[in-house]
């Protein structure tokens, strides 16, 4: 039977806990920037959702009627759009961190004339 402290605080637990102090990245500013980018992404996503909702409402009603926005927000079409967008948007936003440069290398740049 283990002592409670030993159960929780073995070497790997201590190592990972101490890594929290680095805020995950080698430079703590990266964590700050990530926080801003993801928050900004959230605003963009919400805005996109609002626009889509408005578009669907206008298409369905011909004009903005009293319940058009609310109805569009609850619609099956909106749910379908959200499901598609949540996947593709998340992928597009996060992929550059681990694959930051998808551009082809130019021999002229490598030579540094």
């Amino acid at each position: 039977m283990q002592d409670d402290k030993n159960v929780a605080m073995d070497k790997v637990y201590e190592l990972i806990s101490s890594a929290q102090g680095r805020e995950f990245f080698n430079h703590p500013d990266t964590a700050r920037l990530m926080g801003m980018i993801v928050a900004l992404g959230g605003e963009v996503f919400v805005l996109k959702a609002q626009v889509e909702r408005l578009t669907q409402a206008l298409m369905k009603s011909g004009a903005v009627a009293e319940n058009a926005l609310a109805e569009a927000g609850q619609s099956k079409d909106m749910a379908v759009w959200i499901a598609r967008e949540e996947k593709t948007f998340g992928e597009a936003l996060l992929r550059p961190f681990v694959n930051p440069d998808l551009g082809a290398a130019s021999p002229f740049m490598e030579r540094k004339p």
Binding site: Q2, A8, D10, I16, Q20, F25, A39
Partner: protein
Amino acid sequence: MNTASTRPEDTRATLPFDCNAYQSYVRGLKGWWKDALYPQVIAEAKEQPAADAAGLESRMEDAASYQMYGWLERHLQQFKYVGRYGLMPVLAADTRRLDAIIEAGVRQSPELLRLDPDFQVPDYVKYADTHQHPGSTWSNDYDAFVHESATAGFSFTLWDSDQLVNDYGVPLAKQFSPKRILDLGCAGGKSTRALQTAAPQAEVYGCDVAAPVLKLGHIRSLELGLRIHYSQQSAEKLDFADGFFDLVASHWLFHEMPGGAIRNAIREARRVLRPGGGYAIYDMCLAPGGVIGEWLHCGYSVRNNEPFAHGLVKMDLKAELEAAGFTDVKFDLRAPSAEKMPVTRTHYMTMVTAVAR
């Protein structure tokens, strides 16, 4: 709330459109994290052979993929709860309506809900902010709605109600044919209702340390016409008589308890079970995938404010159960296999069953 005039949706938290859209955004990021980044981290970790999890942490701590993985694991969960569109501020702004739902709900069939105003929430619950839910499930009544919305919003392995009945409740009902069932750490009663549905003739009890979730669990049960007995008490010290139950179960409880508390809960479960009664623990009792699996599990435990989850996989549960008076202890690792890491990030759940001697 089984009054004819009250429709179930009237007792639900209502998230504004913007909040729902934002939660979807967070789900999308989590989707990429679990489906794309997780396999990449594992692939890179395989290239860094290490004797143990601590060695692997040292080798991987500078890898961009792992740094991003860790940051996302911690912060996407935070984004779910806090910030402009987080569940906490959005639902806190609706407390008047939510409090009224609870107040009206607990007046229905009050004989089925026992709350203890003097109950002291254990420190390991009070100071953990488990799952990064600020204030966890015990602080305010609206926390119960936050918990309900959060678990509905994203979790890799929280089953839907039907699956919970078929894959969790029914096998236990068949194995132990219980007449009286106790669900420990029942929170909002999702697992409790699954057990009641799977064993409709049984008398079912659920207990938890947090009053808000018990109240909402009571309301949800009555909405389904289920007469479940909820009470506020700790799994470590129950007020039921010796041998009162035929089956004691806990669903997602032990990873939130330190080793000493788990040990107390096991002994207490044995006390309230009749000889021959069944005990079921459904939790992350094993971390499959060798060194990489243990390393990522430990990281998850740290990063998601589940500080005891790592201790649970280190615990010798079989020895603890046998020492407390159980026999026929069986471990069934439900997902994934014991040897392989899953291809996508998920929880790896084990059903442990035992019989009271």
